[in-house]
């Protein structure tokens, strides 16, 4: 069964204090791994897609990396506006359905 876990469940950082969020996955045939940001009361907002181990992508203070078993979302010098829930999702190769599996998310709070 395809599974996605994320850690920590919640993270509180001071402004400027860099850290990393972890996404571990078990899937038979990875089609893609996705990172999303979700603010309270809103739908998720797309951040990155990673397709193969060793791939890295950056956007402003965020950098996503991928290995064969996990992905990291590195946040450099975060600001209060980076506070949100960060969701990781995988898409598995199957013959039927789209097979997107989302993790439970990491709630990030950045304090000024």
């Amino acid at each position: 069964e395809d599974q996605v876990t994320q850690s920590p469940e919640a993270l509180r950082l001071q402004e400027g204090e860099s850290s990393s969020l972890n996404c571990s996955y078990t899937v038979s045939g990875l089609r893609g791994l996705f990172w999303y940001r979700q603010d309270p009361g809103k739908g998720p907002e797309f951040l990155f897609t990673l397709y193969s181990a060793g791939e890295e992508k950056e956007k402003e203070r965020l950098k996503a990396t991928l290995t064969k078993k996990e992905s990291f979302l590195h946040i450099t010098a975060p600001k209060p506006e980076d506070s949100a829930t960060y969701l990781c999702a995988v898409q598995a190769r199957r013959n039927y359905g789209q097979n997107f599996v989302f993790g439970p998310g990491t709630r990030l709070s950045v304090l000024p």
Binding site: G43, F46, T49, Y51, Q91, Q98, N99, F102
Partner: protein, 117 residues
């Protein structure tokens, strides 16, 4: 990016009734999806809404409970039928402009918050 609206934004319904949720996109898109996000949990994909044919349901979801329509490339509806309190959730519509196997981006609507009494 695509702008997605959903109606209603929230509703409170009685057990045994049905609710139809609408999803409207400001541009033609290839793929449209319906998700459920139960309180305190992450997203679960319900189905892919296919234009001109039946929806493709993920494991654990059936057409009788969640009938879906997609009459054109900018609109879809999801009906939650014969509701029970366990159906209380946020229902989200998403779209992906690309029809390629790996979808680079999904754009999500704001969601419909459903409470079943």
């Amino acid at each position: 990016s695509a702008v997605i609206s959903q109606k209603p934004s929230r509703d409170i319904c009685q057990r045994g009734t049905s609710l139809t949720i609408q999803c409207q996109v400001d541009s033609q898109v290839t793929m449209m999806f319906w998700y459920r996000q139960q309180p305190g949990q992450s997203l679960t994909l319900i189905a892919t809404a296919n234009q001109g044919s039946e929806a493709t349901y993920e494991s654990g979801f059936v057409i009788d409970k969640f009938p879906i329509s997609r009459p054109n490339l900018t609109f879809s509806t999801l009906t939650v039928s014969n509701m029970s309190p366990e159906d209380s959730s946020i229902y989200l519509c998403s779209v992906a402009p690309s029809s390629e196997l790996s979808y680079n981006e999904q754009f999500f609507g704001p969601g419909t918050r459903l409470t079943v009494l």
